[in-house]
Symmetry: C2
């Protein structure tokens, strides 16, 4: 176990590496070491640099927060799988290699697919789970994910980010633009950008989450779960979070107004308050 | 203005009275006086003694909280109207008589109907609004409210309380039983119990909220709104809160798991954290 223990701010946390089966996986840790750290699983195309430092620092006030890069993402070795199941296996290996035997999970979008999976395959490894901007297997909106990704990649980077993470309202765009500014503020020790090969594999994995046969029985998730979604998430279809909430027995569901796939980045103070309350006070 | 300023705990707050048009209305105030106090509007049959002191004390940590009895309820003078519109007029008169020109509102159930109404008739009087276990006008579940109330009144008091406010799960019943214990702990200076006349008028008002013509355009509510509902509220139909959320432009919606009409009493710590975060940090 080699978790860097004492970073106060995510922007000051350097990239660490943990070895698993001869491969090295990248992560950043922030906050005091705690018995139950929070592991963060990232969205499509995202690396360690795509976690809003305002959110991570807020969550790290009372616990250690560890963001990890899956196989072939950022500075992690390996190939990016074209399916969520293999990504989930890697997550469990990384957590185990870090010497953690109980943690909380924050899964954002694709990271939320992985979180749902490991909650069922390795239930004892997890205490509580936060799912942001995500959806259950079989979500029809994901059938056309390649088309949505194609439209996004045709845009210049700032507009692409706003297209995915903001609504069309001026207020939402301004707040998500502020998120993007926070993501770009870091100049040193940035993670490696995602490769085209990894993007293609992730695109297939996201699409398959919608089109493949449903294999997970979400009613088996007995952990306390906090589900956060924006009012207008085109990628996941916001109503998918209602489906998660209806299938997971012990879940809180919250929708934020006038927000898209970047719901928790658009309301960082509200999200941090709610997530901390959930992690500390929800029984 | 005669608000009692310095009670730290709701159970120590005595019943005060404020005069309006020759009638006196009962209220209790707790917490340090603040520029924007929180006014609490009570549910069907509820008096000042039906606010969970754990919730009120939690909300009063950083603000003054004032619970009021509407016309003909508890120690308030007057007759209980058979419609929400007249109750709303009284609320505005009481707030104005207390010398308040800007406040937050917490409306629970019937109190939430009143909150929706005054948010539209007197928008400038309010800053933020919390709606718990409530529903928009026209909610079909309320068409059979007299039957539901009839079933409830056939039960002995503890079972009646659990029937309305808890689900059938042991966990929910235990938590709501704990709420009831907190409500009953106060021995001195209790409010007057509701009269049969007032119950009949309120039953009519609740039913009419479902059956009368829809007159309120909820899209006109421009205040930040926090909507809280249980997963299994038979009285209001939980999905009614989705309707509120979809019609009110700037609303957060949260569902709590395995809970009924007493959602915020079943999760008092989570609710207090979320309400305080909303009142202090939501823009």
């Amino acid at each position: 176990m080699s978790i860097q223990p004492n970073n106060t701010h995510y922007t000051e946390a350097s990239i660490e590496r943990i070895g698993v089966d001869g491969l090295f996986y990248a992560y950043r840790a922030v906050g005091r070491p705690t018995d139950v750290p929070l592991i963060c699983l990232q969205h499509f195309t995202g690396t360690l640099d795509n976690w809003d430092p305002l959110v991570i620092d807020g969550l790290a006030q009372n616990r250690q927060v560890i963001a990890i890069d899956n196989s072939g993402i950022g500075c992690s070795d390996g190939e990016t799988p074209d399916n969520v199941q293999d990504m989930a296996v890697t997550v469990v290996k990384i957590i185990t290699a870090l010497g953690i035997n109980k943690c909380d999970l924050l899964g954002f979008s694709l990271g939320g697919f992985i979180a749902q999976t490991v909650a069922i395959t390795n239930p004892h490894l997890f205490r509580k789970i936060i799912l942001v901007g995500t959806a259950p297997q079989g979500t029809i909106a994901l059938h056309s994910f390649p088309q949505l990704a194609g439209r996004a990649f045709a845009m210049e980077p700032v507009e692409r980010y706003l297209y995915i993470f903001a609504t069309s309202s001026e207020k939402s765009r301004e707040k998500i633009k502020a998120t993007l500014d926070r993501l770009m503020a870091r100049k040193n020790d940035r993670d490696k950008e995602i490769s085209m090969t990894a993007i293609q594999a992730q695109t297939k994995a996201l699409t398959r989450w919608g089109t493949d046969q449903v294999t997970l029985d979400l009613s088996m998730i007995t952990h306390p779960v906090l589900i956060i979604q924006g009012s207008n998430d085109e990628m996941m279809n916001s109503d998918s979070s209602l489906e998660l909430y209806r299938q997971i027995p012990n879940a809180i569901l919250t929708f934020y107004p006038d927000s898209s796939h970047g719901s928790f980045n658009q309301y960082p103070e509200i999200f941090v308050d709610q997530a901390n309350s959930f992690l500390e006070n929800f029984l």
